[in-house]
Amino acid sequence: MSREDVLVSADWAEKNLDADKVVFVEVDEDTTAYDGGHIPGAVKIDWKTELQDQVRRDFINKEQFEALLSRKGIANDDIVVLYGGNNNWFAAYAYWYFKLYGHDQVKLLDGGRKKWELDGRPYSTDVPARPATSYTAREQDRSIRAFRDEVVAAISRSNLVDVRSPDEYAGRLLAPAHLPQEQAQRAGHIPTAISVPWSKAANEDGTFKSDDELRRLYAEAGIDDSKSTIAYCRIGERSSHTWFALHELLGHSDVRNYDGSWTEYGSLVGVPVALGDEPGQA
């Protein structure tokens, strides 16, 4: 797999706005962003109301995913190009989600909404009408998803990568700094997890750094290529961004995203927690 297979530039996107079998999908928590203007022809997916089960804390199941994509007019053989705000956090999350359910051709728009806007490229407020499809998903690919027991078992054995900001890692903040900080769970990180903030993988315009820069970043941070890797953040979307960098761009073979992330781990009874800037001991 190469970078061109999984990542498209804004130039490519603008040239392919009307291309057959290419579907642009905006994924944002803030759906008003889409309503105020989006890439012409793009449909929107709300990561919270459409990708999450609305009762249990879990994803929508295979049948619900099939119904969602059918309703959005996305076919199995469409090339899905995902983009969004927040430096593509939620678009990367959706990318991982599309892979989880086995979609063949899915790509991220490098830089997402931010690069598109800073470049002054066109937006539309027209909502496209796409005829419904009959989408078929595969069973979840559990090789890219980690659950809490696997995370606890990975302490001091596998690469654990905490991709939150340094202050969240150390326990000085509980959430990204654009959100209020009052939370129920404990602060800190999973012992032996190394800190590689997601933002180190991106340039300030939201595009991913080059493969060489990414390789150097994760090697210097101490990720051991011969071991499996689990990435986590607070709710699993920033770690999707890092999962994308490690698994899709660099081709590391065994990388899983822990979507429970700190909001689950930091609320578990009896698990070890490390405070401060060092990985700590198991």
Partner: protein, 103 residues
């Protein structure tokens, strides 16, 4: 306001009643190019080591807001009007800071 998501809330709404400004360190201000506020600018909050902490998009009136911790912070704004930086030492409560962008 969503507390279990990660999306930035609208930047021009009043502080939610649940936010305790005795405990929170709020960093807020306006991005301007010359005298004009810049809507839709991307403002990132960088910690004392220059590491990214959060990013929001300014409101129609150019406003941004972060919930941080006491300490030294840098604001970095990107916009179609140009880019700019500002640094401040924040304490608990509401900290006002202006960011000017230009080419």
């Amino acid at each position: 306001m969503s507390t279990d998501g990660c999306g930035a809330p609208a930047q021009d709404t009043p502080l939610p009643a649940s936010v305790d400004v005795e405990k929170e360190t709020v960093i807020t201000g306006v991005v301007r190019a010359g005298d004009a506020p810049v809507a839709g600018a991307y403002v990132r909050l960088l910690d004392a080591s220059g590491e990214f902490t959060a990013e929001v998009v300014t409101s129609q009136a150019g406003q941004f807001r972060f919930f941080a911790a006491p300490g030294t912070w840098t604001l970095r704004a990107l916009s179609r009007e140009g880019n700019g930086d500002a640094t401040l030492a924040a304490d608990r409560g509401i900290n006002q800071v202006a960011v000017t962008v230009g080419s």
